[in-house]
Symmetry: C2
Subunit: 485 residues, 2 copies
């Protein structure tokens, strides 16, 4: 049972995304939305979230919380720690709903608004507990993208802002504290600028929606997913630096490069034109297919960014480090994780390289257990794999939860022989992986004895595991008949 | 010896990027730049390009062409197929240089300009061969980002535009044919809009350079690396579609969300402010370190996009398919490729999972050789790996070129036993990988006999390879002493 409850007021694409992110991070979630379709819509968002969010991590997320739907705001917000409002962008409507929320919600609950346009001081007008209301503006898909613009007003206590940052970070988000309230916050101002310029390009027949998208995704979009505008330009300035860059490109500000002095009128003709171009560009795929394609790409790219801890990759690493290790059983469980889409191949199941990747993660975790951790490697010592034998016994699909147990077959001197068993969601043994590792000196790149502390801990495991049965399949060669050992 | 020569006129960051892209795709490259530092600068760009561009592909790029430096435009452009001008953005300077180029260049050479601002009709003014001049505007880093805006003028023959698209595609780029010339083309108009809004946010103390970058890279930047503005919004509109989305957000156009009606004045104070914020944000890393971080992230994300062929991933897949297979020797070479940064681990060498990934690529290639190719898999039949034994014999580093030979140990009935040898750049045997594969029916997920054609081709390989020596290390179990077999 989760100790925390998030109340979701308004369950559209954004509210549903919030529900999914809280739920998959172990919170209970209560939803209020008068739309009779709300339950179905949130179920669809959850389906997408379950196949993608856990795949960002190499550890399991907490057990899912409970999801409930309520017919009144009063029911939905009772006992809530966090209340997230995602109703249409009408200030009078928001004020009316806040009055109902604050009548029934706990005095300590924080009320975040998903508004993309309003300032927190506007949202707080006339509220009974104005200090609890702030802007928490997320980005679609909320369950994957880490950014949330957190905007307090001048009257918001720093304790509330601090608590909000803590809670949002604990569900894997990156709260960007906007220190000065402004219409549309930061990101949407930038988006609005591009949107307006895009409308002009379409209206004037310079480019279609697809050509504009291509101008973004084959070029600067790839830069912006990892560094933003200014760090990218800093690099462009080269050794001469940022001032040089501005000096070189600053004069362009006087050139007639944008139509932005003016705003295009959204006539019916222009809307039809955009819709028709968008159909020609993306109409072959359903929205559901586009969502899954987007999510698979996001997971793939964000996993790539984990490696250098850049942008979203850094957020995932931090969140992952805060997740608890799976509980120990008889044999240590050294991997417990979801299989991402990107781990599957053309045969429709987990690719053989990813079996070794998972076994390698199991080895890393086991090394930590015996004290051969990151600090140990940084000190110039490590284990290298010398030999591996894998048996594939059952197929594993994307989205399945796998776990690996590690048994020490022997551990003496420079050698460590491990036997990893990989289990599927249904408990079936899907693969075994026997590995011989050698302890190395990372400076000389030659074998060496482990530190005494590591050797002793390895010895404890080796002695304990020696009492167990030799696992079936250990010590085999490729193609050996089952009965032969 | 390459048949093609590209002349690079102006060898800064952009010219150097062009030089690297042509060179690494097998073209000879001649450079003209009066800067005495040009040779050193281009060498630095090449170092970056060599460690990243080949890592995008799972096949080798062509052998590098020859790079030469010349003291005059006349020397540099003789025999050129493509001439790329990347000199400072002054129209009078460009016109002067075009006159010199066209006096000495072959009549059929295409002259592309990297200009970010000028229209092709402006560039063509007063030229002796105006029809050969068009805009080919790339994006930094030119050796990695595929986008190039190709802008012909009203007088450019379609044959020239077509030939330019063909050449740029052949070096792995994505030419975006801009059909209507306009100041700043398409992408830079969008960038300029964001840049102006960003300057306001900094000037008004709403956000720092780092906060603006975070607002981009933790949120919409990740969306834009794969889909652009309009496809992303199409999804946001949900099943109701693009018209619904515009209807919902269109009214915002009338809100005061941007400062874009006005342009901030670039005073010395504002420039100092931006430079100081940028130093605080990124000053801990040198430009070289930032470049390598950027390139590693780009390679990682673009490789993630290959999987779904989205955006840049699709461009890489197409280019890769056009690359020739490595030449056959005695044993088929089933892998020949560079080791990307992302394949290395905390021990500073290629991770064990990637040995299996490479061996798996070798198996795929061998399956193609015996006719068990993508069409065969699509028809419902495939091979699954049942068992694998790997011996790690020497370390492999990022950037090294590895090759794998595949020997058939046996191939009868449902079984195929392969022995893959993985060689380093220096020819040393780095690993062996013995694999037992079973032929499968993909519908029933049970073993089955291969198609007759596949069985016959496998048999030919098995018979040929049976005459060779049993490779050292085959048939071993994990930890077996060397002399024991």
């Amino acid at each position: 049972m989760s100790l925390y409850k998030a109340s979701i007021i308004g369950g559209g694409v954004i509210g549903g995304g919030w529900a999914a992110r809280f739920l998959l991070n172990g919170w209970n979630v209560s939803v209020y939305d008068p739309d009779p379709e709300a339950e179905r819509k949130i179920a669809e968002v959850l389906t997408n979230a379950r196949r993608s969010l856990p795949s960002l991590y190499d550890k399991p997320l907490p057990a899912e919380g409970a999801l409930t739907f309520h017919g009144s705001i009063a029911d939905a917000v009772s006992d809530a720690t966090w209340i997230q409002e995602s109703v249409p962008e009408r200030l009078d409507l928001k004020h009316k709903i806040y009055a109902q929320i604050q009548e029934h919600a706990p005095g300590k609950a924080i009320l975040g608004s998903s508004t993309s346009g309003f300032k927190p001081s506007e949202l707080q007008q006339g509220a009974s507990h104005a200090e609890q209301i702030l802007v928490a503006h997320p980005f679609n898909p909320v369950y994957l993208l880490p950014l949330v613009e957190l905007v307090p007003s001048a009257i918001t206590p720093t304790t509330i802002t601090g608590r909000a940052i803590e809670i949002l970070s604990s569900i894997g988000m990156k709260p960007l504290h906007v220190r000065k309230e402004i219409d549309a916050h930061i990101a949407d101002r930038l988006l609005e600028a591009v949107w307006r310029e895009g409308l002009w390009l379409i209206k004037d027949d310079v480019a279609t929606t697809e050509e504009i998208d291509d101008a973004i995704r084959y070029g600067f979009g790839l830069r912006w997913a990892q560094m933003g505008l200014f760090e990218t330009y800093r690099i462009a300035g080269g050794e001469a630096g940022m001032k040089h860059f501005i000096g070189q490109f600053g004069p362009c500000l006087q050139w007639p490069w944008t139509k932005l002095m003016d705003v295009p009128e959204l006539t019916e003709t222009l809307i039809e034109k955009i819709a028709a171009q968008s159909d020609a560009q993306s109409g072959a795929m359903s929205i559901r297919e586009l969502e899954q394609l987007r999510d698979d790409n996001l997971v793939g790219m964000m996993r790539a960014l984990k490696r250098t801890a850049s942008g979203a990759g850094g957020t995932i690493n931090q969140h992952e480090a805060s997740l608890p290790e799976p509980e120990p059983r008889e044999l240590p469980i050294t991997v417990s994780r979801q299989v991402p889409q990107s781990w599957t191949d053309y045969n429709g199941h987990m690719n053989e390289a990813n079996y070794v990747q998972a076994s390698s993660q199991a080895t890393d975790r086991f090394m930590e257990l015996i004290g051969a951790d990151a600090a140990y490697v940084a000190s110039g010592r490590s284990y290298f794999t010398a030999e591996t034998h894998i048996r594939h016994l059952a197929e594993v699909n994307a989205g399945e939860h796998i776990s690996i147990t590690t048994q020490v077959l022997s551990g003496e001197g420079k050698k460590m022989r491990l036997f990893q068993s990989l289990f599927r969601t249904d408990g079936e043994l899907a693969a075994t992986c026997e590995m011989l590792l050698l302890h190395m000196n990372l400076k000389t790149r030659s074998t060496s004895l482990p530190a005494r502390k590591v050797a002793l801990r390895l010895n404890v495991y080796a002695n304990t595991h020696a009492d167990m049965l030799m696992p079936h399949g250990a010590g085999r060669y490729v193609g050996q008949k089952t009965g032969r050992i």
